[in-house]
């Protein structure tokens, strides 16, 4: 396997609030390899965004606090860099695409100028004219028609899809080696989502960047991701390549996610939700944080007393699960979802 471009080890992030300490991210570790798309999925508040924002120095500190861990990017630990060094990397070697293109663009600045500014910030030697030309190239690349004229327009003159294209153009402006896409399609219409997925693919082809795709949309994961990290309550609970995750998930939470997904090829009368609520990150349940909602635990003491480590299971080293009883979860009744359980 090639060397990882970004590897996170034991990242732990907490927030001090009036109600207590929020354990937003706990002992998260994963590697990102060049050119791949790593999907990070989980419910809202499972720590998927925070883990990435924190290594880029984008969470407010205080109240945020990085307790331990490292994030090695090209041989340097991002968590040890000064503000200035980190700023060099942000938007340059590591770029972000945000969720809502309606609010992520400055309403009073021209679209083109905003992108050109991102270019100039990292290439001070370029002239304005060169930055403008590059911006127009980028806008055409992400499929903004009439890029020359569009350069001088303001965000309110762009539709949602076009704005997200502009955001992507801005993100790939400095040919990053890592592209963090934080729910890039959540705020868009379904038809536009498909187009944006296509643009993301183009962007990746063009820059050969590794993409971290943060989302709760399993469809988007299936469409784009090569490998998947599943997060629950601030921890990684399962990690595998995308086919394995969809075909043979080995963590009750992942299985629950798959079952709650509407699928056309199966006759389902009901979607099966995961019972209960995500736990409070201030007072996490003892042991496995998922045990109160777990259909597989069946009240076993170990689930309540011992935090399950993320460990290699079964076929090959690439499949990791954080369930004490992951080996039991191989039966067809889990992988085939609701259909089997209804006895068909």
């Amino acid at each position: 396997m090639p060397e990882a471009v970004l590897s996170i080890r034991d990242l732990t992030v907490e927030f001090d609030t009036e109600d207590g300490v929020v354990h937003a991210v706990t002992d998260v570790s994963w590697d990102l390899y060049p050119g791949e798309v790593l999907g990070v999925i989980g419910e809202s508040g499972s720590g998927k965004s925070v883990s990435l924002l924190s290594i880029l120095g984008l969470i407010p500190m205080p109240p945020g606090r990085i307790v331990r861990g490292e994030a090695v990017f090209k041989g340097r630990d991002l968590l040890k860099l000064s503000g200035r060094e980190l700023r060099q990397i942000r938007g340059g070697d590591i770029a972000m695409i945000f969720q809502d293109p309606m609010t992520s663009l400055n309403p009073v600045l021209k679209i083109g100028d905003q992108i050109a500014e991102a270019i100039l910030a990292h290439n001070p030697r370029l002239t304005k004219e060169e930055a403008r030309r590059r911006t127009i190239e980028l806008l055409s690349l992400v499929g903004v028609p009439g890029a020359e004229q569009r350069y001088d327009q303001y965000p309110h003159e762009f539709s949602g899809g076009m704005r997200q294209r502009a955001m992507i153009a801005m993100a790939i402006a400095n040919s990053p080696s890592v592209l963090v896409a934080d729910e890039p399609t959540t705020a868009l219409d379904v038809t536009i989502q498909a187009q944006i997925i296509e643009v993301l693919r183009t962007a990746q082809r063009e820059t050969n960047a590794a993409i971290v795709l943060i989302t709760h949309d399993l469809g988007l994961i299936a469409e784009l991701a090569d490998r998947v990290v599943v997060m629950y309550a601030g921890r990684v609970v399962e990690q595998a390549d995308v086919l394995t995750i969809f075909d043979s998930p080995r963590h009750p939470y992942t299985i629950g996610l798959m079952k709650s997904l509407a699928r056309l090829e199966r006759e389902q009368e009901w979607l099966e939700p995961i019972p209960g609520q995500p736990p409070s990150l201030i007072t996490l349940p003892p042991g496995c944080a998922f045990h109160p909602r777990c259909l597989h635990s069946r009240g076993r003491a170990r689930c309540r007393s011992e935090v399950p480590p993320l460990r290699e299971i079964g076929e090959g080293a690439s499949h990791l699960s954080a369930c004490h009883f992951a080996e039991e979860l191989t039966g067809a009744q889990y992988t085939a979802g609701a259909g089997v359980e209804r006895g068909t």
Partner: protein, 351 residues
């Protein structure tokens, strides 16, 4: 490249391409045999220029629809020009004495349109020169207080925390000062004439209106500081600020390039209103004898001179008073118009 009209005899590549596209689009959307609508075709071939309209263009449109504001702006511009070209426009100098016409009521003879005072000085000329002084002071106040207040409010709002606390408590402190008392004291010490500034190598004479302007600005920046701080507090939570940060922008760049342009509307409106109140306060100072010193004229001191003479020489208070009323009204109307025009959430003007 500019748009070519359809009748252009030399078709460019782009026209060709547009035509081909148009043909394709028609083929795709129309049943065979159907005839395309002629005006649609025209649209395709001439191309519809999508004009990029800036926020400023929209603001200008909205402002121009505000008739009272536009009229007020015209009045202000005229008064401003009169003030700037006072020596050319005024029929007499501000201290020229016409011994044949003492206490003359407004008359056409000798062009004493606003009459003369008991020394025979032409009051129209004194009002024009007074206008110059007053506007000059007001301009200094608006500029200084807006610059200082904006900078302070921006830093406080952007960084928050103890910096915010420190700067805002300082602002509160200034606000608690009894304004007129402080102004009178300061004007008594510093504002009784031109001030010689001696800073070793840097020595110069500050003209009195500038001194008065600085003294007034010292009390006027608090309002704008609070407004800008409030705006920055809400702006810094906006996603585009986070996006700018994620794109590698530093604090100064975010404040100046990304956040300040979003606050221009309220700042401009506030600055215009500061001009109005600065004129009033300067007039009050001069009225009380602490402002611009005679024989120089300021609107306030003109009214003060006039009221000492009693009701018989009514023109001595009426005309300078009217000028103040007109200026302040006009500025407030312009401020209203600007507020409506610069509010981006508002697409239509109020009637």
């Amino acid at each position: 490249m500019t748009e070519r009209p359809a009748s252009d005899t030399v078709p460019s590549d782009r026209d060709e391409a547009a035509r081909a596209n148009a043909a394709q689009a028609r083929a795709a959307t129309m049943a065979p045999g159907e005839v395309g609508a002629p005006d649609l075709e025209l649209v395709y071939e001439t191309g519809v220029e999508i004009k990029a309209r800036s926020q400023w263009a929209y603001a200008r449109m909205r402002f121009l629809r505000h008739r009272l504001a536009v009229a007020s702006l015209v009045v202000l511009v005229i008064l401003g020009l009169v003030a700037i070209f006072a020596p050319e426009i005024a029929p007499y100098s501000y201290d020229a004495i016409d011994l044949d016409n003492l206490n003359q009521s407004p008359t056409l003879s000798g062009w004493h349109l606003f009459g003369t005072d008991q020394l025979g000085r032409d009051y129209l000329s004194r009002v024009i020169f007074g206008l110059q002084t007053s506007l000059w002071v007001a301009f200094v106040v608006a500029l200084l207080s807006t610059a200082f207040g904006t900078a302070l409010g921006a830093v406080a709002g952007y960084y928050g925390g103890w910096i915010d606390n420190l700067l805002m408590r300082f602002t509160d402190l200034i606000l608690t000062l009894p304004g007129l008392a402080v102004l009178l004291t300061a004007a008594r010490f510093f504002g009784q004439g031109d001030v010689n500034v001696d800073l070793g190598p840097l020595s110069f004479v500050m003209p009195q209106p500038l001194v008065i302007g600085i003294i007034l600005a010292f009390l006027f920046w608090t309002g704008i500081a609070r407004i800008v701080r409030g705006l920055f507090l809400s702006l810094r939570e906006k996603e585009f600020v986070e996006a700018a940060r994620a794109a590698g922008a530093g604090d100064l760049r975010i404040i100046v390039r990304h956040m300040l342009p979003n606050t221009v509307g309220p700042i401009v409106v506030n600055a215009t209103l500061v001009v109005a109140s600065a004129i009033l306060v300067e007039a009050a100072l001069s009225f009380l004898g602490f402002g611009i010193q005679p024989p120089k004229a300021a609107i306030g001191s003109l009214i003060a001179d006039g009221q000492q003479q009693g009701i018989q020489t009514w023109w001595l208070v009426t005309f300078p008073g009217l000028v103040i009323v007109i200026i302040c009204l006009a500025i407030n109307f312009v401020g209203d118009g600007l507020r409506d025009a610069l509010d981006p959430t508002q697409r239509r003007t109020r009637a």
